[in-house]
Structures are given as C-alpha cells and as structure tokens.
Amino acid sequence: MSRIITRRKLLRAGAATAGTTLLAGCDRFFESSSMRPLLDFGQLLSLKAHRLLLAGQPLVREYSLDDISPDFPSNGTAMPEGFEYFQLIANNFENWRFKVDGLVRNPLSFSLDEIKQMPSRTQITQHSCDEGWTAIGQWTGVPLAHLLNIAELQPEARYIVFHCLDQMTDSEFYYESIDLFDAFHPQTILAYGMNGGGLPVRHGAPLRLRVERQIGYKNAKYVTRVEAVDRLNMLGSGKGGYWPDRGYQWYAGL
C-alpha cells in the first residue's frame, strides 16, 4: 500500500486539525463551568437593573383587537400526554380542581367555573419567545394577586411556583416560578380565555400563566397548582423551572 503524503495534504490536515482544536477550545471556553459565576453575575445585573426600572410597576403595552396576530405559535407542549389529561379534556375540565397551597394561611381549591366567576382581567399583549418570534394575543383570566390575597401569603413566602399538567420526562412535570414582584403585578394573570374564546389545548387549557414582563417559557401552560414557597432549591434541579433547570435563565425579562 502506497500512501503519498504531499505537503499540501499535510498542510491542509494541519490547518483542519488546528481549526477544529481552536473551535473546540472556543466551545469549551464558552461552556466552561469556571465562566458560570461571571454569567450569573450578568443575570443578576439584568434582574437588579430591571427591578430598578420597573419599581413603579408600569403596565406593559396593551394592543387593540386589530393588532392581534393572525396566528399564535404553540411552543413546548401542544398536547399533554397521558390518560389523565385526556380524561380532563373529555370532561371539559369539569372534574379538574385548581389548588393554591404552600406557604399560605388558607389553602384553596377551585373548579374552572369558580375561577371564571372571580374578578377577571382581559389584556391584549405581545408574547415574545426567547427563540426570537413574537405574537400578539388577547388573554382573559383571574389576576394572580386576587388568588394570593384570598389565600393570604405567609410572611416567609418569597416565590410562587406553577405546577403544570404536562409531563416532560419520566419524573418531571413542567413547572415555573416567579417572585412576588412579578406575582402581584396587575397584568400577571392565570388565563382561561384567549382571543375572545376559551383557552385552546395547545395554549395551555385549562389555565395558563401570563407574566407579561418576561419571555415565553416563563408563561407556564396547563397550570394546575400554585404553590407559595420560601426558596426554589427544593424543586426539580433547584433552579426554579423546567427550562432554568436546563441552563436557561430563571429571570427572563430580556
């Protein structure tokens, strides 16, 4: 077997190897765990700056009916798997009970009809996915502040966790969390209606969170239980949400 290694081939191979090594080095640098504290500091900076800017709790821009986008993509789960959720749809969520518990004085449980009897808020807002797309939709729901006021938070409560019906892995359901600053914002609602009708399954029926100052994945769909907690490290991998557990930012106001 004759193998002629020309200078050109050698150079090309060398360049390719050097290139690959450099790229791999680059990849490793960006992913390196030693960079984590720096990146976390950046996240903290954004959170603190936004809290300062939003101290007066302004509302996000609300649009008119004409501005509603013709379609509204459904990201993440579009149809929760499993017989349990299928049964809920089959019964029009009549057997479904929504719970508020955790660090509250009065744990609550409601049917969907009972939630619809509560004070409601309708808002036409822009939904922004971290992927880069945006859509405009109208949401009708109960302000989270109303539920938390009836349930009466205990003084230690610092975060509100949203437990969802869509199972993501063998052991995990989707969940998300926000702090009280966002939880009591007037536009933070648990929506059961969209664009004048009921909330479609692909958008999180029977109930989904709208937390308008944060991006897509924070707006948990299929919410079935709201829990008040004093820290987030007891749940999932401890980062406060399904995506945050996978490296995404917990505070996603940008």
């Binding site: 790229l23 960006f30 986008s69 993509p73 971290d130 992927e131 100052r213 991006i215 930012q249």
Partner: protein, 290 residues
C-alpha cells in the same frame, strides 16, 4: 557660486527637518483601554448574536413575526430533492441567493454538510441558553465600557479635540481630496498624519453617536421588561420585530466598520498603529520631499 552654495545648504536643512522622525502621544490610556475591551465585547456579542439569530433565522417587520409571516430577511437550509443535495438559501426581501457552503448549509472539515444559518465557527456552537447568557453579559460590559468612554470623550475634550472635523477639513475641496487619497490608498504624512482624516472622523462619529445608540436601543426593544419601562421604544422602531431586524442590520454595519478599520490599519502601517493603541506612542512619518 555663492548663491548656489546657499541654495544647496537651504535644501539640505529642509530635507533634514522634514525627514525627522517624530513621535507623538496619540491615544490616552482611557481610549486604549476601552478600545481593547470593546474588541473583546464586540467579538463575543457578534458570536453569541449570530448564535441567537440561528435559533430563528428569519427577520420580520412590525410588532409580530413567526413562521408563516412574510420575512424581510431569512437564511434557510433545506434538502433539494432534485439535486439530492442540501442547499443554503438566503432571502433579502424578494431576492433569493444560493449561499450553500457559506450560509444556510456549511461543510465541516470532513466535508459533511452542517445545517444552520451561520456556520459553527462563527457561533462557537453556543446553544440558545448559553448564547443568551453571553450576549447579555457582554452587552452589560459593552454598555459600561461605552459609558466610560463616552464620559471620558466628553469631559476630556477627546470628542471635540480629536473627532470633530476642523473647519478646513469640511471644505468640499478637502473632502474630495481626502476621498481621492483613500481611493489611491495614499496615507497622510507629516502634519496631516497628526490628526484623523475627515472620512475617518465621520466614520467614528457615526459609529459612536448613531450606530451604537441604535444597536443598544433596538436591543432593549426586544426585552419585555425594558419596553414596559420605556414603551416609546416600540414607536421608535415600529415594533419588536422591526427592532430585531434593525439590531441585525446595525450589527452588520458594525462588523463592516470593524473590517474596514482592520483593513485600514493593515494598509497604514499596522505595527505603528497597533503600538500606538497599546503604548499610546505613534511615529509620524516625514513628508515626502519629492
């Protein structure tokens, strides 16, 4: 006889005077420091920005935009059933370009096709979560660094002294001459080399006072928290998707500026210029005697 001797002596003196190598202190410490921090920030912002673009390689105009909404720009990779080959398609408005190998579909060192709008080497393979983290961290650094530079430029007189074109530079004849010098790649020497030329000044001013504020403001328009604090940003950019498009255009213009800047440095004595941006000292070449 005596007259020609005198003439010769004057000529020699003139030659030595003009051929004297002069070293000037060109860049202050603040400018040098912020310049190199800028380079680091811009590199990482660009790489992470391209990674973010790759997640949704479509740009729209207006408030909303998602797959199905008409795009103003897109880079897609697809499998062409006719040729049985992957192809990269870049669309700008109604124009379609085949960019296979450059954008949309690229080939790795083993010749395997790799999908993705911008190639792996440009994004360092950052995923969405990582790219967001780096982009925002670097944005903070960029803004803090830029603020320091801006305050320095204002308070030290750097903007006025070094960047504002002098009245003689604004005369049409001078501008035309400067354009002509650029086209011939002719570099200023002597006294003219002690100041920035007028095209250079205009480019720097446009970047500092138009491009950078625009890229910052359009970036903020993509943040629901920031637009909640500053809702006028939506009106300024005609919507969040337009802001994303403008952000992308500004990033490209900034990259274009950097490329031209680097080419200019390479053409105008890279060693001298690099040294001046590191030590501050810059050697002025004598005027040509012929």
């Amino acid at each position: 006889m005596a007259l020609s001797e005198q003439t010769a002596r004057i000529a020699t003196e003139a030659r030595t005077a003009s051929s004297r190598r002069e070293v000037i202190y060109r860049h202050s410490l603040a400018v040098r420091l912020t310049h190199w921090i800028n380079l680091l920030c811009l590199t990482l912002l660009l790489m992470s920005g391209l990674a973010l673009f790759n997640v949704h390689p479509q740009l729209y105009w207006g408030h909303y935009g998602y797959p199905g909404v008409p795009t103003v720009f897109s880079i897609t990779g697809r499998y062409n059933p006719e040729t049985a080959q992957p192809e990269g398609i870049t669309r700008i408005g109604d124009y379609t370009l085949d960019t296979t190998g450059i954008l949309g579909v690229t080939y790795d060192s083993d010749g395997r096709p790799r999908p993705g709008a911008f190639p792996q080497w440009a994004t360092a393979g950052m995923d969405l979560a990582l790219a967001r983290d780096w982009h925002f961290l670097m944005a903070w650094m960029f803004v803090i660094n830029g603020t320091i530079y801006f305050l320095f430029g204002l308070l030290s007189g750097h903007f006025w002294r070094d960047l504002a074109p002098r009245s003689d530079q604004l005369r049409p004849r001078h501008i035309v001459a400067d354009i002509w010098n650029h086209l011939r790649l002719r570099r200023p020497r002597g006294e003219e080399a002690k100041r920035y030329n007028v095209l250079q000044k205009v480019a720097y001013l446009a970047v500092i006072f138009i491009l950078l504020p625009a890229i910052l403001a359009s970036g903020l328009t993509m943040s629901p928290a920031a637009t909640s604090a500053f809702p006028f940003l939506f009106d300024l950019f005609a919507g969040r998707q337009s802001a994303r498009t403008i952000h992308f255009i500004c990033a490209n213009l900034l990259l274009l500026f950097v490329l031209v800047h680097v080419v200019q440095v390479l053409l105008s004595g890279a060693f001298n210029l690099l040294r001046s941006m590191i030590t501050g000292r810059y050697v002025i070449k004598p005027e040509r005697t012929s």
